[in-house]
Amino acid sequence: MSTFHLGNGAGFSGDRVDAPIPVLRSLIARGGPAAMFFETLGERTVALAHLEKRANPARGYEPMLERLLDPILVDAHAHRIPLLGNWGAANPPAAALAVAKLALAKGLPQLRIGLVEGDDVTPLVAGGQLPVHEADAGLDMGAWSLIAANAYIGAEPLVEALAQGADVVVAGRTSDPALAIAPLAHHFGWRFDDWERLALGAATGHLLECGSQVTGGVFWDPGFKDIPDPANIGFPIAEVTAEGGLVITKPEGTGGLVDLRTVKEQLLYELHDPAHYITPDVVLDITQCRLEQVGRDRVAVHGLRGHPRPDTLKVTASFEGSWLGEGEVSVAGPNALARARATADVLLQRMKLRGLDVRARVDLIGVASVHDDDGGSLWRGYAGPEPQDIRIRLAVEARSRDDADQAAREVLAMLCCGTAGTGGARWRVTPRILTRSHLVLRERVPTRVTTRTAREIAA
């Protein structure tokens, strides 16, 4: 049986929107059976989408959906290359309508759109019917209000949509690897208890789901790990065979690279126990995995193993949390470090003087920030060379919006009340979203799949 070519067009909501174009072009040039998938839904993204849907019932899906599809929809349809994505986010029907309208505008009224629903399990969490995942046992959400809860569904409903002839599959909270498993299972006719084949699909998905992260993105380290043309990194393509072969590659004429180093980094990304990478469709085991460079920008993956899938699905419940207030000012030049440290101390003192009910932290960006702790032990203990340009950042968490706002405005006040040469103030207040994981028996999450033409959906 021939090789199936699977391309990835997005690794997160916010990825480069022109990335899918060379991937589709390469899939067409290859000529064989192919599909593309787009992973655009993180834990926070789905919560934000639910809030957006509340404000506007026609929204709540991936904001870049139309922009991602616009340049590729016509060619993908002409070459029978299905496009799958969890771009439905909190509102898959609205996303399906958006795709339908785009298809009509492109002269594709017969384009078939497969809508996958059922991942929203908000009533089960609201009713207290689902156990909390052991990792989150200590989280108390008593004071916060539930926004929504979504179960990570597997590949089977996506396969159903492809079997119904869908050109574009619109889903909500699927697992990331399911988007890759589905077109492979559909093409090769894999059974959903063939753990070895499903492991191949899960590994394909895991390696591709973050887009350029396997082709040079978040990999390049100038002078140590250089990549060609980082402004035009090619997004990944997997070549999968019926016999279980898997090669990771990328489109010709793009930047980035695929080698043992890029594939190893992505294989271990967000992985904990390498023997048990849990997905809704299979438990992947990479302990016997071996990699082989089989050509330029071509790495073969061997030795993948699979174990039976769990009886439960993971659920992410999101809650309206507290408020985040942030403010920043800069100092530079002679004595910058002493001025920055003094500013930090005064800001923390001001929180107490004002009686603001906040949890506060100060960073000295340019001295120590992202690696520091909330107490600032790294910048307080800093004894290196005198930094010339430091940005002081106050961050607070507060139960009330007003306390967060007042705390952030204390940074603004340093423009006049602060040390000599303080400038460049910025401040903002944003709502926080808290999440908690639950488990649900998979039979309690029935999914619905309906595939209709663009004309039918838009009617």
Binding site: E43, R44, A135, D136, V218, F219, D221, F224, K225, R261, K264, E265, Q266, L267, L268, Y269, E270, L271, H272, D273, P274, I286, T287, Q288, C289, R290, L291, G303, G321, L324, R359, A360, R361, D363, I365, S369, V370, H371, D372, D373, D374, S377, L378, R393, A395, V396, E397, R432, I433, L434, T435, S437
Partner: protein, 106 residues
């Protein structure tokens, strides 16, 4: 013996799940795998993150890939949804790991 930062001989990528951080550690030269296994213990990696309240570190060894996976618990000060850190995901921590030094035979 010569002491060098890990960054000179290995690379790493960090990822998160909630309040838990994972970091790969991959030597450029597979011949350095044994040396890293001996010197980059879970305890030493945990020490890098104790100031942030990290409670535990597990090292998973992947000899076929010549790679290690470190999993550090309770290190992200609440994770992306709870932390006041600019990098709530902890993506920058791979380069804190790479600051750790190892001794190379001269």
């Amino acid at each position: 013996m010569k002491e060098v930062p890990l960054h000179a001989i290995a690379h790493s990528r960090a990822g998160d799940k909630g309040n838990r951080l994972n970091m790969s550690l991959i030597p450029y030269d597979p011949a350095h795998y044994g040396l890293l296994a001996e010197q980059v213990t879970a305890e030493r990696v945990l020490d890098l993150f104790r100031h942030r309240g990290a409670t535990h570190c597990t090292r998973h060894d992947l000899p076929n890939l010549h790679a290690f996976n470190f999993v550090v618990e309770e290190v992200l000060e609440g994770g992306v949804n709870g932390s006041l850190n600019l990098d709530g995901h902890g993506k920058t921590h791979s380069f804190r790991l790479l600051e750790l030094t190892v001794r190379l035979p001269a």
